[in-house]
């Protein structure tokens, strides 16, 4: 039997000498509320960036324990596998309705919905407009890449004029397919919507601006001001048929000229 005052023998008994000039500080890594798993998104997809920015915002605001996210249908359908806080799933386009229910039952929670353009601007247009019109105190993160990603690259309502997709092989014809939908400008007239901003993720500077916008949207909800929404212009290199670097250039040169980046409405 070992005596109680006897210290257990360990391998590294000697203290290591630490040279102060060699000490390295980790200044950037994965946020704590993001799981350490590999994401299923294509190379250069904007979804992974927006996932990370939401996690960083939640960590910085210290609201991880009371945050409830609502995942959409679309490419980000299994976002709950990547976020390490409470997330639920909603039927296609009904994410704001589910978020409304959660927020009304648990008003102390921070509720946000994460949606793509097929989810928010096509099948869920009624839900998003009425949620904003009621002035529900939730936050919506809208990732706009201009195509239906999960189903194979068909035309979305937000597809630009002349853009080639699987269902518009000669480019979007405005006479046949109608005009691209500017959701934020449409919602700016609603008195219930308090904070609306459009940003992009095509360069590090724009990513940082997106993070500030997401943080302000969450702060709007924490301050009980009302409905807040951030539209993020994201890349879809696979269905735009170009490399990730060219996709980033396309957002800068083409997409952001039609969808102007900036604050659309602020309290």
């Amino acid at each position: 039997m070992r005596k109680s005052n006897q210290k257990p023998v360990t391998r590294n008994q000697k203290k290591k000498k630490i040279n102060k000039s060699q000490v390295e500080n980790l200044i950037f890594s994965r946020p704590r509320s993001m799981r350490d798993v590999e994401m299923h998104y294509c190379a250069g997809c904007g979804h992974g960036l927006v996932h990370r920015l939401i996690c960083e915002t939640i960590d910085e605001l210290g609201i991880r324990e009371r945050t409830i996210g609502v995942a959409p249908v679309g490419c980000a359908v299994i976002a709950y596998d990547y976020w390490d806080f409470d997330v639920t799933e909603a039927a296609h386009g009904r994410t704001p309705a589910v978020a409304t229910g959660i927020k009304r039952v648990r008003p102390e929670s921070i509720v946000f919905s994460y949606q793509g353009d097929g989810d928010l601007a096509a099948i869920g247009t009624a839900e998003i407009i009425h949620t904003a019109n009621r002035g529900e105190n939730i936050t919506v993160i809208f990732v706009n890449n201009g195509v239906y990603g999960m189903t194979g690259g068909q035309m979305a309502p937000t597809t630009l004029a002349g853009q080639v997709t699987d269902t518009t092989v000669e480019g979007r014809n405005l006479k046949r397919d109608g005009y691209p939908l500017k959701i934020l400008e449409m919602m700016a007239v609603l008195p219930g919507a308090k904070y609306l901003e459009r940003t992009s993720v095509h360069s590090p500077q724009e990513v940082l601006r997106t993070k500030r916008a997401i943080k302000k949207a969450f702060q709007t909800q924490i301050d009980n001001r009302g409905f807040s929404m951030v539209e993020v212009l994201a890349m879809c290199p696979t269905y735009w048929g170009m490399s990730p670097i060219k996709s980033a250039d396309r957002i800068k040169n083409e997409v952001s000229t039609f969808y102007p980046i900036g604050v659309v409405k602020s309290y």
Partner: protein
């Protein structure tokens, strides 16, 4: 001296970090990873630790030390 670590197994090869590095210290690797893509690789050199590569990385696989 600052440096970055890229998780080359998880890198999908979008190379957005290569275009965003102001010093041009990231290159395309010569070897394939398990996905069959050539990952981005840190060449070494005068890294300032500005974190631009890590900020733009869509898969969050770059760690920055300073």
């Amino acid at each position: 001296m600052a440096k970055i670590k890229i998780d080359e197994i998880r890198c999908k090869g979008c190379y957005l970090c290569i275009t965003s590095c102001p010093q041009g210290l990231i290159k395309v690797s010569d070897r394939l990873n398990i996905k069959g893509t050539k990952p981005a690789r840190f060449k070494g050199g005068k890294c300032t630790g500005c974190s631009m590569c890590a900020i733009i990385c869509p898969d969050c696989i770059i760690q920055v030390y300073r």
